[in-house]
């Protein structure tokens, strides 16, 4: 860092050293891109952990007519629907944020403003898609 930058310390700006999780969650004001990034990681990890549950449901849905009935029974429970809605959001967020990633890999929307704007859109589109899945899941259409 050059001397000029070091000496021109911004007044009133908080300074973070040895940052921990409480600084990140409590004190930082995370920009949309940071929120999308950490949610991308959390949703991916959550989906990985949910694999046995999802594969089990997948198996029951395909094995036979009677196991399909069993599957339909589990899935029709409101609590199961809520869990599935949560996992749907995780999947759709990961999906939409991943598409943003692929565009950025190809040098689209890399500057600061564009990156924040696309991050906001990722949050909006994934929530909208989740809402759509939720309405279908709870039998609205």
């Amino acid at each position: 860092m050059s001397e000029a930058v070091r000496e021109a310390k911004q007044k009133g700006r908080p300074e973070f050293r040895n940052i921990g999780i409480t600084d990140i969650t409590g004190k930082y004001r995370m920009p949309p891109s940071a929120i999308v990034s950490i949610l991308h990681r959390i949703s991916g990890a959550g989906l990985f952990l949910a694999l046995p549950f999802l594969l089990y449901l997948f198996q029951q849905s395909l094995l036979s007519e009677s196991s399909f009935g069993y599957f339909a029974g589990i899935v029709s429970h409101p609590l199961a629907k809520l869990v599935l809605l949560g996992l749907s959001w995780a999947y759709l967020h990961h999906f939409v944020a991943g598409i943003r990633h692929l565009f950025m890999d190809n040098h689209f929307a890399l500057d600061k403003d564009a990156a924040q704007s696309t991050a906001r859109w990722v949050l909006i589109i994934s929530l909208a898609l989740t809402l759509l899945v939720g309405l279908k899941l709870f039998g609205v259409f």
Binding site: R41, G44, A45, L47, F48, L51, L55, F58, Q59, S61, L62, L63, E65, F68, G69, Y91, F95, G98, I99, H101, L102, D105, L129, L132, V133, K136
Partner: protein
């Protein structure tokens, strides 16, 4: 440049391309999964009367079985890269990290075998 320095004591100790391979694999598997996702999402949102015949009928076709298998295998490779990144970022102890990585590999291999069983039970 890399080929010149690849042998002997003066070889390049960084840039062995391990990262690039996984990075690229994660992107390619992502594209396959994205296409699969769009197909399933559209059929879920536009479908009426969700029945066993319709659902199993979709998976009964050989091309869809194979497409599903390729997508799921891609998913497991994709998950391996992502979960490995998480272990590398947060787990400082080398022994624990190795254990978690091996557990992830074995678990994903088991998932792959389970997926074959599920798909070919239809």
């Amino acid at each position: 440049m890399a080929t010149k320095n690849n042998i002997g004591p003066r070889r390049l100790v960084v840039g062995a391309h391990y990262g690039v391979k996984d990075w690229l694999a994660q992107r390619i598997t992502a594209i396959v999964m994205a296409i699969y996702t769009v197909i399933l999402l559209v059929s879920f949102l536009t479908g009426q009367n969700f029945t066993y015949e319709g659902w199993a009928g979709l998976f009964a076709a050989q091309w869809f079985k194979l497409f599903s298998l390729v997508t799921f295998l891609g998913l497991y490779y994709h998950a391996w890269v992502g979960i490995r990144d998480i272990w590398m970022d947060y787990v400082k102890s080398a022994g624990l990290r190795l254990f978690l990585m091996l557990a992830t590999i074995f678990w994903l291999l088991a998932c792959a075998a389970w997926t074959v069983q599920i798909l070919w039970s239809v």
